[in-house]
């Protein structure tokens, strides 16, 4: 059904519905434009490469961010003097140092001193949270255009716990659950909802197959900004100048048979393996958000609209179920009636177990979810993932003319986040 037909049906439904007007009016707003809309001007990412092995292993975080910022300005014609804030999702990098690195990145990208920057950390959703923060600030009237980014170099900043533990943790089972390793939460999900090893390996194989096809067909090209950098050969120690322009974690030809050979690593007799969990990666993403009136006045491209966002807490023991809780909240805020009204999902594959659970629980159509593969094939640079997913989603929505799409991920310590985006008609 064409979008105008869908809108007309919605309008008519509203006239016949016995619901208060604040509810019935949210649905038909979907296809409508307002000068106050928050629009996506640009959504780009670096290639996502394998930590410690891949093409970006010797590239510092500030270079990743600077490369994206510069490309974003070059491609959109954005006037950097107008940028009200740059918000960068970052999870593992030392907090204060990373904030400073982001400031450095802006100068490397040629931004003036006047433009501020900060980091945001909501674990794996940080890149999406950055988008939500910028959208909220624009809504609040703090500024008209802002940049939401995300960066992670898991090569130099591995996941770890520093310092001691608060002994009072023992007094709360939820608090204790926050300390459970992520892989174990995956096993918890698989066990509690009986997600089999076969189901998980099937999802993982599909992720690789779809990502490989997308890469082969050049479907990532428009969203990837090549990174000029240096790379040290681990065998010879030789440092060379290279251009990284492709994701390097995708393994074409991965099948359930090859995946079935991998051992479970988090639990004896478990089902989560390195093959059906997300890859440890380096990379960055960058999204420009603006008030529609500003974008129109400056002649900036408009890819679509940032419609809604929700972050919701869940039991930390099974943190992977987060999207199953957050997605319904976000789509309701967007005025959509059900997941059936959503054309595409970027549902982060932290683990095949939780991705399978969430898709099943919500009744998602497998042909709409991670159509170009997910984190199992592409990798999961924690702080960058949200912005990476937005880039992948927006470009795919444009490519296939999807009306709308959702970005969602689970969050360590027990949360889910989801954002709804809409293609510009």
């Amino acid at each position: 059904m064409s979008s105008s037909a869908a809108r007309r049906v919605a309008q008519l439904n509203a006239h016949l519905t016995d619901a208060p007007v604040d509810q019935i009016q949210r649905f038909p707003t979907a296809a409508r434009k307002s000068p106050d809309d928050i629009v996506v001007v640009s959504a780009l990412r670096t290639p996502i490469t394998r930590a410690k092995k891949g093409g970006l292993k010797d590239t510092p975080a500030d270079d990743l961010v600077a490369t994206l910022l510069k490309a974003t300005v070059d491609r959109t014609g954005l006037d950097v003097n107008d940028v009200g804030d740059v918000v960068v999702g970052s999870v593992l990098g030392n907090s204060s140092q990373r904030a400073n690195e982001c400031r450095i990145a802006m100068f490397l990208a040629g931004f003036p001193q006047e433009v501020p920057v900060r980091t945001v950390n909501r674990q794996c959703s940080s890149g999406l949270q950055a988008c939500a923060d910028v959208a909220a600030a624009i809504k609040a009237g703090y500024y008209d255009v802002g940049i939401a980014a995300g960066v992670e170099t898991m090569t130099s900043n591995p996941m770890k716990w520093e310092g001691g533990m608060n002994p009072r943790v023992a007094s709360s089972s939820d608090a204790q659950s926050c300390l459970i390793p992520m892989g174990v939460t995956s096993e918890n999900v698989a066990e509690r909802w009986e997600i089999t090893r076969e189901q998980q390996d099937t999802l993982a194989a599909r992720s690789h197959a779809r990502a490989a096809a997308a890469q082969r067909d050049g479907r990532f090209d428009s969203q990837i900004v090549p990174v000029r950098t240096q790379w040290r050969d681990p065998k010879t120690g030789e440092v060379s100048r290279i251009v990284v322009d492709k994701d390097d974690g995708i393994r074409e030809g991965t099948t359930t048979t090859t995946l079935a050979k991998l051992p479970a690593v988090f639990k004896k007799g478990g089902s989560t393996t390195p093959g059906n969990a997300s890859q440890v990666s380096d990379g960055a993403g960058c999204v420009v958000l603006a008030k529609r009136s500003y974008a129109l006045a400056k002649g900036l491209p408009i890819m679509g609209r940032f419609v809604s966002f929700a972050a919701v807490g869940v039991d930390p023991k099974v943190m992977g179920i987060g999207p199953a809780v957050a997605i319904p909240v976000a789509i309701e805020k967007a005025g959509l009636r059900s997941v059936a009204d959503v054309d595409l999902f970027e549902l982060n594959e932290a683990f095949a177990s939780q991705a399978t659970y969430c898709a099943t629980k919500l009744g998602l159509d497998v042909e709409k979810v991670n159509v170009n593969g997910g984190a199992i094939a592409l990798g999961h640079p924690l702080g960058a993932t949200g912005a990476r997913c937005v880039a992948t989603l927006m470009h795919e929505m444009q490519r296939r003319g999807a009306r709308n799409g959702v970005v969602s991920m689970c969050i360590g310590s027990g949360m889910g986040a989801a954002g709804v985006f809409e293609l510009e008609a």
């Binding site: 008519l12 006239h15 208060p20 007007v21 409508r32």
Partner: protein
């Protein structure tokens, strides 16, 4: 008096202000959701009692939702189109000359058009793009003004029958607004219903009284000099009130049609107490049940007292005297 079967689903009906027995009927394929639109002109030739016959038919590539006649040229009428355009037709012109104009400025569905009855040289269009535009066929094919004050779809824009520059608008933002085209902003905003307002009309005898019809199933009468409270509220339909028309012949008579498939006639001065919002249904002076689908088009003739017309999604057009029942025709 007369019935006619249209090819598609009816959306609006308007009596000609020049030719007695002539009506314009707007229809859309597939309930106006997707497909073409047809603007008919029908006539009862041979006086009352004669059947309605087609005298003109204009095709459009998208649904047509409303129509109105020119007040200065008896053969000209305009239609509101789903593609955001306003089509201008001339019954006297050869088929290939139609539409005379296609005015393309609205960015979403145009849902209503209304011709100025005092100045007679301009008309309004109301659109789902939240704006109302003022047009004149004299001069270049661009709108004279755009009124962008509603925050949601505008479903109706109706000129005052007595003042050349005053008009009222009904919107899904739950407000009725009154504009004076000589001033920059609206002069009055009434949060008239808790639900979307789908229609409005001016009383022809009292230039301060406006009727509104809403998704809340009621019709309210307002005195715009004291907008804090309605003059009357008639809860007389089981679904949204799609159109309301103040009778040109009797000050207190109001006609309504509804998604509940009925057309009804009310005396607002005696029936204001009837029913309450969410409570029982008020009894009208008359209720007609000749439509078997949504009754969405409604008009009362200014040339023949007591003659009303309706059309609906059942592809039926009826023109009858209010003392009769078209179901019997």
């Amino acid at each position: 008096m007369g019935r006619f079967k249209t090819q598609h689903n009816g959306y609006s009906l308007a009596f000609s202000p020049f030719v007695e027995g002539r009506v314009a009927v707007t229809t859309s394929q597939n309930f106006g959701i997707i497909g073409n639109g047809v603007q008919y002109v029908l006539e009862q030739r041979g006086g009352p009692g004669a059947p309605l016959v087609e005298v003109a038919r204009f095709d459009a590539a998208d649904g047509l939702y409303d129509c109105c006649w020119s007040e200065e040229n008896e053969s000209v009428l305009v239609s509101a189109s789903g593609d955001g355009s306003v089509k201008v037709w001339d019954v006297a012109a050869p088929p290939q000359a139609n539409p005379l104009r296609s005015l393309e400025e609205h960015t979403h569905e145009v849902y209503a058009v209304h011709w100025n009855q005092v100045r007679k040289d301009c008309f309004l269009s109301a659109s789902w793009d939240d704006t109302v535009k003022l047009w004149s066929l004299a001069g270049p094919p661009a709108s004279l003004r755009t009124f962008a004050e509603h925050s949601y779809c505008v479903y109706a824009a109706v000129w005052s029958p007595q003042h050349a520059d005053i008009f009222a608008t009904a919107s899904g933002d739950c407000t009725l607004k009154v504009f004076d085209a000589r001033t920059q902003f609206s002069t009055l905003t009434i949060p008239a219903h808790e639900y979307e307002i789908l229609c409005c009309d001016w009383n022809k005898y009292n230039d301060c009284v406006v009727a509104t019809g809403s998704v809340d199933k009621t019709v309210k009468l307002w005195d715009i000099r004291s907008p804090r409270r309605e003059l009357a509220c008639i809860a007389g339909h089981q679904y949204a009130v799609r159109r309301v028309r103040c009778d040109p012949w009797n000050e207190s008579i109001v006609y309504t049609c509804s998604y509940d498939m009925t057309v009804a006639m009310w005396d607002y001065k005696t029936q204001s107490m009837g029913g309450t919002v969410g409570g029982g249904i008020a009894a009208p002076l008359r209720r007609w049940g000749h439509h078997s689908e949504f009754a969405v088009g409604l008009d009362a003739s200014v040339l023949a007292e007591g003659v009303v017309g309706s059309c609906g999604w059942d592809e039926q057009v009826a023109v009858w005297h209010r003392d009769t029942d078209p179901a019997m025709m």
